[in-house]
């Protein structure tokens, strides 16, 4: 029983490939991993002179996976990092959005969000995908 559970868990994580997307009509086409990290760690909000708006998901599994695979940080490290930004007056706390709000936000050009690849829609395009 335990083995079946672990296998199912493994299949779930294999399937849950996280990608970074934007609106299909955006001028953004591809972003290097380092720049995705800089955007989500508030070190820049521009890519090739285009101002981008990063969206943070309120889905804990998705967010944890994004922190681990793309930001290369544990969720606790990510939260400590943001606490530092917020309580030193550098940045306001990043608001987290549910799926419907993310869909709505991605109607705006140059808004970027991380999603599970299986949830990709026609009106979006992938700008970063982990190999």
């Amino acid at each position: 029983m335990k083995i079946i559970f672990l296998l199912l868990l493994g299949v779930y994580f294999l399937d849950a490939q996280i990608v970074v997307v934007t609106n299909k009509n955006s001028q953004l086409n591809s972003i290097p991993k380092e720049i995705v990290q800089y955007i989500y760690l508030a070190k820049t909000d521009k890519v090739e002179n285009i101002k981008v708006k990063p969206i943070v998901s309120d889905d804990k599994n998705l967010h944890g996976g994004f922190c681990n695979t793309i930001l290369c940080k544990s969720e606790s490290q990510y939260n400590s990092y943001w606490a530092r930004l917020v309580f030193t007056g550098r940045k306001p706390i990043a608001k987290r959005f549910g799926w419907n709000e993310i869909v709505k936000k991605l109607q705006e050009l140059n808004t970027i969000a991380y999603i599970e690849k299986k949830d990709l829609r026609e009106e979006w395009k992938i700008i970063y995908e982990e190999n």
């Binding site: 990290q37 544990s74 606790s76 490290q77 530092r84 309580f87 007056g89």
Partner: protein, 391 residues
Amino acid sequence: MKIKKLLCKIIFLLLTSSAYSSEFEIKTFGTLSTVYNDNSNYIYRKDIFQKDGSSDDLSYKTDTLIGLQTTLKINEKFSLLLQGIVNNDYNDEVKAKIDWGYLKYDSGENIIVKVGRIRTPYYKNSDNLNVGYSNLMIRESIEVYGQVPFSSYNGIEVIYSNIIDKYFYTFQANYGKEELTVPIHSINQKANVEIDNLYAMNLTFGTTALQARFTYLNADITASSASLEQLFGGLRASGLNELADRYEFKDKKSEYMGVGLFLDYNNILFSTEYGRRRISSFFANIHGYYATLGYSFDKFIPFVTYAKSKMDVPTYDANTGVAALDALLRAQNLAQSSKTVGIKYYINENFDLKFQYEHVVPKGDFGSYHLSTLQKPQELNVFSFALDFIF
């Protein structure tokens, strides 16, 4: 005073011109902690501003504090920020104080300008020293973080940051002044300290995983009190001008230089900083470093730290021929080393729990950051627990 008046005028103009577009936010942070030091001959404390701490008993005063941060967003570019804390002060009383507060201009194009009361950028965690949730350890290594006894100043800060290829850099320049009271508990005195012409530069560069940091500060500092005036006045009256010139802390050019290296990559955490204080007065020159290594097992982050501080010239064998001056010089000995092992447990987005054990070895007679009347140093074993929160 001119800076304060100018700041008030700017704030008034901005508030009146954008009264209908402002947003207001309040956030809180804090730490509940208890500390036990097993050596009754020492009072273990967080920094030199504390009078009381643990001395073979539980102390709830060492790290416990509560803080409040308010942000008034005036418009897209201007905001007003204020942070205050309540904790145990150097008179052993629980007091509220404004830690920092400034008018911030964010160009949205790489430049940030702050005017008001600003944190002095000595160390990597200078800005967030009181926000335990954002730090790995319960308190930073005093061997580096305890070298300079003031943490904020009144003035201006300009920050420029950008990205070149896959690397980021941030350049920070500061100018201002500060006045404060520094207690010298070991000889039961207080000094009024005036800091003028404070210039600071700070460069941080690297990637999100690996960063390096360089800091340089320069200021003209004067420390005075009735007993200091009496001591150095007496030396001059006795014709000991050379001795008075050498040790009197009057308009002395003072420097601090620091370097640091920080790694935060795939669960591995490493940080190290080296700091060096140079002040040609009785407030003796010192240098020190720490190195911390941690590993993040999801919610658990165990860590180890080694830290050491050393006086450039030992003060404990001071023999100037003037007993009062010798006593003052001996009290400046802050040489020590410490080994710390601990763990941070991340509970959720609002709370964490920490435990750490620290073994402190003071070096030299009359030594250590921690209060004692002993001439010969003794070792300390210190156990600390903390619950940090942010809302």
